[in-house]
């Protein structure tokens, strides 16, 4: 899962990036509103963690602008003030959720999972697909009730494909999901992860659409 973190405070941003990475998220960290807006308009993220007090362009402005331009990525805002106004303004500007500083990372993770669940149109916390069950909260995958040993990247890839079941995801989309801007991407990385997933969960789970990408078919 690729998350855009927009936070100007060095220590908080660093902590959030590391914390989210520990959870298997791919984190891209930007420190000003203007750049964040550009990134959101040009690239695909699964969620945005947005601080409101940003240099150059405030979080609220960024929110309004991207929503006007049709970006539907779920956004969670970080507010420093307890006041109702900030929360109401944030939500009305297009945020999906808010969390007040200081917060617990566990809460942030849970809120992010909830956002993704809603974005994928699910109410259930677990994703069930045939004999496969994926638990986003514990980062675990079960095949016929038995836990499968799976790497964070493989987990993310499977999660992404399952959430978009029935849709073809391009190799580029998948690799953006797996890697932020920081990491040098091996051009074969996605193929390697898909290969591993097929070995663990069955050859026919993930379909290759030649020249386009990969997909998991909707269950008939």
């Amino acid at each position: 899962m690729r998350i855009l973190l927009v936070e100007d405070d060095e220590l908080l941003g660093d902590g959030l990036k590391n914390g989210l990475s520990q959870q298997g998220y791919t984190v891209d960290w930007l420190k000003d509103g203007h750049v964040a807006e550009l990134a959101l308009l040009t690239e695909t993220f699964d969620a945005v963690v947005l601080d409101l007090g940003l240099p150059k362009r405030s979080g609220l402005e960024v929110l309004k602008n991207i929503r006007l331009k049709g970006v539907i990525t779920p956004v969670i805002i970080l507010t420093a003030r307890e006041s109702l106004d900030d929360k109401v303004l944030g939500l009305d500007a297009g945020a999906d959720d808010y969390i007040a500083k200081p917060f617990d990372l566990k809460e942030l993770y849970a809120r992010l999972r909830a956002l993704q669940r809603r974005a994928a149109g699910r109410a259930e916390p677990l994703i069930n697909y045939g004999h496969i069950t994926l638990d986003p909260a514990s980062h675990s995958v079960f095949l016929e009730g038995k836990r499968i040993n799976i790497s964070p990247r493989e987990f993310t890839l499977l999660y992404k494909l399952l959430e978009n079941a029935g849709r073809v995801l391009s190799r580029e989309q998948l690799s953006q999901s797996l890697y932020g801007w920081d990491t040098e991407i091996d051009s074969n990385a996605v193929e390697v992860h898909v290969h591993n997933l097929r070995k663990k969960l069955g050859e026919d789970l993930i379909q290759t659409i030649r020249g386009v990408g990969y997909m998991i078919d909707r269950i008939a």
Binding site: L11, N18, A80
Partner: protein
């Protein structure tokens, strides 16, 4: 405690009591005197009337008086008495008696109640005589022509009784006025105190945080200045209350981000998979704690600087000496960032008056800020100058500087240059400005002449 109500009550009651008592006593004695003289006049009048009546009733018929009054007949015929006084049973009957004596001392006539011996000596005019148990007021009229003596008298106790009745009757209205006045005084004072009470209630019933001015519309003119003063005080209180509230809110807000960073880094450390990232996160926790501590220290400094309180512990201060001390303290920070920190001392001593502790805070904040916001391999130049009237402390850096339109805003509490990586509290320059104001100094922000960056000059009065 003095009470206007009690004072008014006591003084008005005392005044009214004195006035009414005085008036009553005066009118009692005045009336007594007047009635006495009226009674005396009545005695004279009665004597003449008796004389005239006696003459008229006897002489025209050529009767001798001796015939009219036989020596045995000691009482005046009731008929004659009635013609003089009528059926005299009036409550204010003066109960006069009289005697008619002949020249040679024979009692020709007397009324009932008059003794058979002379009421007084044979001298014309008023006399007072003691007859039996009673004192009599006697008027003697000598009729030389008819050789008769008339004596009209009245018992003093009867007269006193009448005088008392009349006089008391006369002062009764005065005494009735007394309770009425007291009631009126109570009512008036209560009415006069009402607007005061209303104001008191207005103040009493307001909520603790309700610092709006007291309504002066219905306030009496006499206490309006007081209410105005209280309102002034209230508005100042409200101002400082609002300032405190804003400050607390800002402070809380300002601590939220460092605390969020601290908590986040702590949780990262907790969940770190390897020793290196664990160690890195722990180091960052230390940085977070340092930052929180700095914010707290600056907040305390700022809350101790009260703009409305005069400066304490003023002494002579050598700015250059203090600058050198603080530069040596901060030198390590500069070295870590590879910043060249230098000091240009003024040729003549930079002496001013002030509070040494506060000036140290000012110098430290300015230099610390410069080091903090100047990128690595930059320069921070501290200098002191002396001009005719002024002693100048100056800090210049080669940092990114500040846009001129934001020069004023950098002194706002919690203002931080947006997008700045430096971990400031946002309070340093606000503190500097307060210290500057407390010292009657001025501060100027500008761009250094030769390079980019920020130049801050503080102008102190020259005390040399």
């Amino acid at each position: 405690m003095s009470s206007i109500r009690r004072f008014l009550l006591v003084s008005l009651l005392a005044t009214i009591t004195c006035v009414i008592t005085g008036a009553a006593i005066y009118s009692y004695f005045d009336i007594t005197r007047k009635i006495n003289s009226i009674f005396d006049a009545q005695l004279i009048e009665a004597a003449h009337v008796i004389r005239y009546t006696t003459e008229q009733s006897t002489l025209p018929q050529g009767n001798n008086l001796n015939e009219l009054f036989s020596p045995n007949q000691t009482y005046l015929p009731p008929k004659l008495w009635d013609t003089i006084y009528g059926d005299d049973l009036h409550p204010y009957d003066t109960r006069r008696v009289f005697q008619i004596w002949s020249d040679d001392g024979v009692l020709l006539a007397r009324t009932e109640g008059a003794p058979p011996y002379p009421l007084a000596k044979d001298v014309e005019g008023f006399t007072t005589s003691q007859i039996g148990n009673y004192t009599w007021r006697v008027y003697t009229l000598i009729d030389e022509k008819n050789h008769l003596r008339y004596q009209v008298a009245q018992r003093n106790d009867v007269r006193a009784y009448l005088v008392k009745n009349l006089a008391l009757g006369n002062i009764l209205p005065d005494l009735l006025i007394y309770p009425l006045s007291i009631i009126m005084i109570f009512i008036t004072i209560r009415a006069a105190m009402k607007p005061l009470q209303r104001t008191i209630n207005d103040v009493k019933n307001r909520a603790l945080q309700h610092l709006e001015p007291i309504n002066t519309e219905s306030v009496p003119v006499e206490i309006k200045p007081l209410i105005d003063e209280i309102n002034l005080l209230l508005s100042r209180l409200e101002e400082s209350y609002a300032r405190e509230k804003r400050f607390t809110a800002d402070a809380a807000h300002e601590l939220r981000t460092p605390l969020a960073a601290l908590k986040t880094q702590a949780q990262v450390a907790e969940n770190a998979h390897d020793e290196t990232s664990h160690q890195i996160a722990l180091n960052k926790i230390n940085l977070c704690v340092d930052r929180c501590a700095r914010v707290v220290t600056q907040l305390l400094t700022l809350s101790n600087l009260r703009p409305d309180e005069p400066l304490k512990e003023i002494q002579i201060i050598d700015l250059s000496k203090l600058a050198v001390e603080i530069i040596s303290e901060l030198a390590t920070d500069a070295v870590h960032k590879h910043i060249t920190l230098s000091f240009d001392e003024s040729k003549t001593p930079a002496i001013t008056n002030g509070n040494a502790t506060l000036i140290q805070v000012l110098i430290r904040n300015l230099i610390d800020n410069a080091i903090r916001y100047t990128p690595e391999h930059g320069q921070v130049i501290v200098s002191t100058h002396v001009e005719k009237q002024l002693v100048i402390f100056c800090v210049e850096d080669t940092g990114p500087g500040v846009a001129p339109e934001l020069y004023d805003r950098i002194f706002d509490r919690f203002y931080r240059e947006l997008g700045n990586k430096a971990q400031g509290s946002g309070l340093g320059l606000s503190i500097v400005q307060q210290i500057v104001e407390l010292h009657g100094a001025t501060i100027k922000v500008s761009k250094p002449g030769k390079h980019s960056g920020l130049k801050i000059q503080v102008f102190f009065p020259n005390q040399n």
